[in-house]
Structure formats: structure tokens, C-alpha cells
């Protein structure tokens, strides 16, 4: 008898609390704002942190709440991201819900639908920059050793390997600059850190000065940044 009672009581309790929880989960469901997803899809997705938020999704949340300016996305400025974001923010709630449903809750598709509706000035939807793979990065990082100038330049770069400049990582970018093949202004996340100016300073220095700098700092990027900034 005791065994049957125990089994029945426990099973009944489990069933009751289970169904209560299922009911509560449905009733207090948290609906994600489709606008947030759309803004996130419009961002470059480099998670560079130049906007001051921890990653693109945090920035998207802040933009939707009105706590951040769409212009704050520095890597996206060139590719028209702020305009796209403004368009999303200005769209009516019904419109957002409609494209959200039509795209089966796929943010990229919804964004395309929304863009297609508007004027044609935003045709070229920017593609997210491709982050370099680890092998590519390491290949160029190992090449840095024989190139003192590039090593110094590498020191003043943000070292986040975002790939926005079109190179395979910061080491590749540094080598290309030292050869004069690419404009230092192309480093988008570095704009706030005076990267272009620092590179100019490095270019003016001669071989010996650069070697001395590297020796003093032991090639540590943080130390190099400090030294060059102080000059």
C-alpha cells in the first residue's frame, strides 16, 4: 500500500508542478523585439567594440532603446550602416512585424525585404567583413620578424584582426603599410586611437630609431603605443 501511495503522490505532484510551470512559461513569455534583431543584422558584425558597447548585439539593443546613436558604429559608417539603422528605426511597427513574419523570423531575410521596399539609394547592402582565419593571421605574424618597420607599425594597430581594411589581419596590414601599398586610414577601428597619425610618426623615424624603440619595448604592442603616443 505504501509503495502505491508513494508512487501516486510523487507522480501527481510532478504532473501538477510540471503543468503549472509549462503554463507559467507560456503566460510570461519574453518576446524578443524584432527591431533589435534587424539592427543587429544591419551591423557589420565585427564586434570591434569601437562604439563602446560589448559587441554588436549590445549596441543594437542600445540603439533600439534610444541610448546610442546609430552613427556610433564606426566600421559601418562607410558602408551606410547608420542609414540602414535609421530606416529600421523609422519604419512603422506594423511594417517591422510584417517583414519579420514574412521572412520566418530570419533577420537577414527580413532586412532584405525591408530594404527592397524603400528607395534605391541603399542598394549595395554591405557584406560583413571576413575575419581572417587563424592560419592566415599566423602566416603574416611570423613574417613580421624580418621586418622591423612593420613590427613597429603592428604595435600601434588595434590588434583585433577585424579584417575591415581588407587585409588578412593586423600583421598583414602592417606589412602592406610598410611597403606603401595601402593607406593607413583604412584601419577603421583605429581611427579613435590616432592610428594613422602614429603610423605617420613611425614612417618619419629611421631604421635605428625604430630598432631602439623595439628593443626598449621588447615588441610589446601596449608599450609601443604608449611610446609613440607620447612623441
Amino acid at each position: 500500500m505504501i509503495i502505491i501511495y508513494s508512487a501516486v503522490v510523487l507522480a501527481a505532484l510532478g504532473l501538477i508542478s510540471g503543468s503549472f510551470l509549462a503554463f507559467a512559461a507560456e503566460k510570461f513569455k519574453v518576446k524578443a523585439d524584432p527591431r533589435e534583431k534587424l539592427v543587429e543584422a544591419a551591423l557589420p558584425g565585427a564586434n570591434c567594440g569601437a562604439c563602446g558597447f560589448p559587441g554588436c548585439s549590445a549596441f543594437a539593443k542600445a540603439v533600439v532603446k534610444g541610448e546610442a546613436d546609430p552613427e556610433g558604429c564606426i566600421p559601418g559608417k562607410r558602408t551606410g550602416t547608420p542609414e540602414t539603422i535609421k530606416k529600421i528605426m523609422n519604419a512603422l511597427q506594423e511594417k517591422i512585424d510584417e517583414v519579420w513574419e514574412n521572412s520566418e523570423e530570419n533577420p537577414d531575410k527580413a532586412l532584405e525585404l525591408l530594404e527592397g521596399e524603400g528607395s534605391s539609394n541603399n542598394k549595395k547592402k554591405s557584406k560583413a567583413p571576413t575575419k581572417p582565419t587563424k592560419e592566415e593571421k599566423e602566416k603574416y605574424e611570423s613574417k613580421l620578424k624580418d621586418n622591423t618597420k612593420a613590427s613597429a607599425i603592428y604595435g600601434v594597430l588595434p590588434n583585433i584582426d577585424c579584417g575591415l581594411c581588407g587585409c588578412k589581419g593586423c600583421a598583414h596590414f602592417a606589412i602592406e603599410i610598410s611597403k606603401g601599398n595601402i593607406d593607413p586610414e583604412k584601419c577603421v577601428p583605429g581611427k579613435r586611437q590616432n592610428v594613422a597619425e602614429n603610423i605617420e610618426k613611425l614612417k618619419e623615424m629611421d631604421e635605428k630609431e625604430i630598432e631602439k624603440l623595439l628593443e626598449e619595448t621588447e615588441g610589446d604592442p601596449g608599450e609601443i603605443k604608449k611610446k609613440v603616443n607620447d612623441k
Partner: protein, 195 residues
């Protein structure tokens, strides 16, 4: 002793004399984990008071059933089941109502499930043969006692952040020392109420 006085003494005893954290040493995990900031300590306290009161009412009623079927050996299992589902409910509810509090409490919210203070309270209510009204008063007392200890402790820890502490005492070490001092202070309530 008149009924009203007795209830008041039960409340006072659970809150101060037999404080769950500082005298019975139950629920130390959230006591140390969520006491870094006053805001989260207040949120945690409210969640614990709610779970404590709801859990003891439900477990008290269920205990009648268990006793009637003479399967009271299942007490612990049944009580844990009830507490776990209540905590789940609080979690779902908080996520909807106050996402910032939900984020701040983090892992400590689901950890109320395994908070021995709550299971201890439910078992104590049954052991002391409390009536339903006594159970409710007792669990309010226990909940407020937990809140009192947690909030006092969090203010102490916030102040401690400002002082220069020897390297080896930083963080948990100094927190445990001050928790011990706080516990000694609460020992002063011993003998305030005799039930």
C-alpha cells in the same frame, strides 16, 4: 501565553535569535555570493522571502497528506520538488517583470533551489508541529531574518571596498571574517526570547 504574543515571539525568534544565516548557518552560498551590492541583495532577499513563504505554506498542506497516507518518509523528496518548481516559477516571472534584476541575480536565482535555508525552514515547521498561521509567521520571520543578514552584510562589504585591506585578506577572506563578526553580534540576541 496569549496567542498574539506567541506569534510575535515566533517571528522575533526566527528573525533575530535563530537567524537562519547567522545563528543556524543555513543558506551561506547566496549570503556570500549576492552580497557584493546592496541592490542585488535586496532583490535576492525579496525572492527568498517569497519562495520561503510560498514553499512553507504548500509544504505544510502537503505534509498533512503525507501524514494521512503514512508516507511521511517522503517529506524531503516532496519538499525539494515543491521548492524547485517554485524557484523555476520565480525565475520565469522575474525574467518577464524585471530583466535587470534577473541579470543581476544570475546563477544565484536558480541556486535558491538548493538553498538549504528554504528546505530547512520547511522541515523545521513540520518538526515543531506548527499550525498553519504559525508556519506563515515563522517563515516570514525566517525570510526577513535572511534579508536582514544579507542587506547588513552587503552594506558592510560595500564599505569595505573603499578601505585599504592587506593583499592576502582581499575578497572572500575579509568577507568571511566580517561574516563571522556579524554572526557574533547576532549571538547577542541569544536569550531574548524563550519559547
Amino acid at each position: 501565553m496569549p496567542e498574539g504574543t506567541r506569534l510575535f515571539f515566533i517571528f522575533l525568534s526566527a528573525m533575530l535569535v535563530n537567524n537562519f544565516v547567522l545563528a543556524r548557518f543555513l543558506g551561506i552560498c547566496p549570503f556570500l555570493g549576492v552580497s557584493k551590492k546592496v541592490d542585488t541583495a535586496v532583490g535576492m532577499s525579496i525572492a527568498v522571502i517569497f519562495v520561503m513563504v510560498m514553499a512553507s505554506i504548500i509544504t505544510w498542506i502537503l505534509n498533512l497528506l503525507l501524514v494521512a497516507l503514512s508516507i511521511s518518509f517522503l517529506r524531503t523528496v516532496v519538499f525539494i520538488l515543491i521548492i524547485a518548481s517554485l524557484v523555476q516559477f520565480v525565475e520565469i516571472f522575474l525574467k518577464k517583470i524585471s530583466p535587470s534584476l534577473y541579470d543581476a541575480l544570475g546563477i544565484y536565482l536558480p541556486l535558491i533551489t538548493t538553498n538549504c535555508a528554504i528546505l530547512g525552514l520547511a522541515l523545521l515547521n513540520v518538526q515543531q508541529n506548527y499550525s498553519l498561521i504559525e508556519t506563515i509567521i515563522h517563515s516570514f520571520g525566517a525570510g526577513f531574518g535572511f534579508a536582514l543578514a544579507l542587506i547588513i552584510f552587503s552594506t558592510v562589504r560595500e564599505r569595505m571596498e573603499l578601505y585599504e585591506i592587506p593583499e592576502s585578506f582581499k575578497g572572500t577572506a575579509s568577507a568571511l571574517v566580517s561574516a563571522g563578526l556579524l554572526s557574533m553580534a547576532f549571538m547577542g540576541f541569544q536569550g531574548l526570547v524563550k519559547l
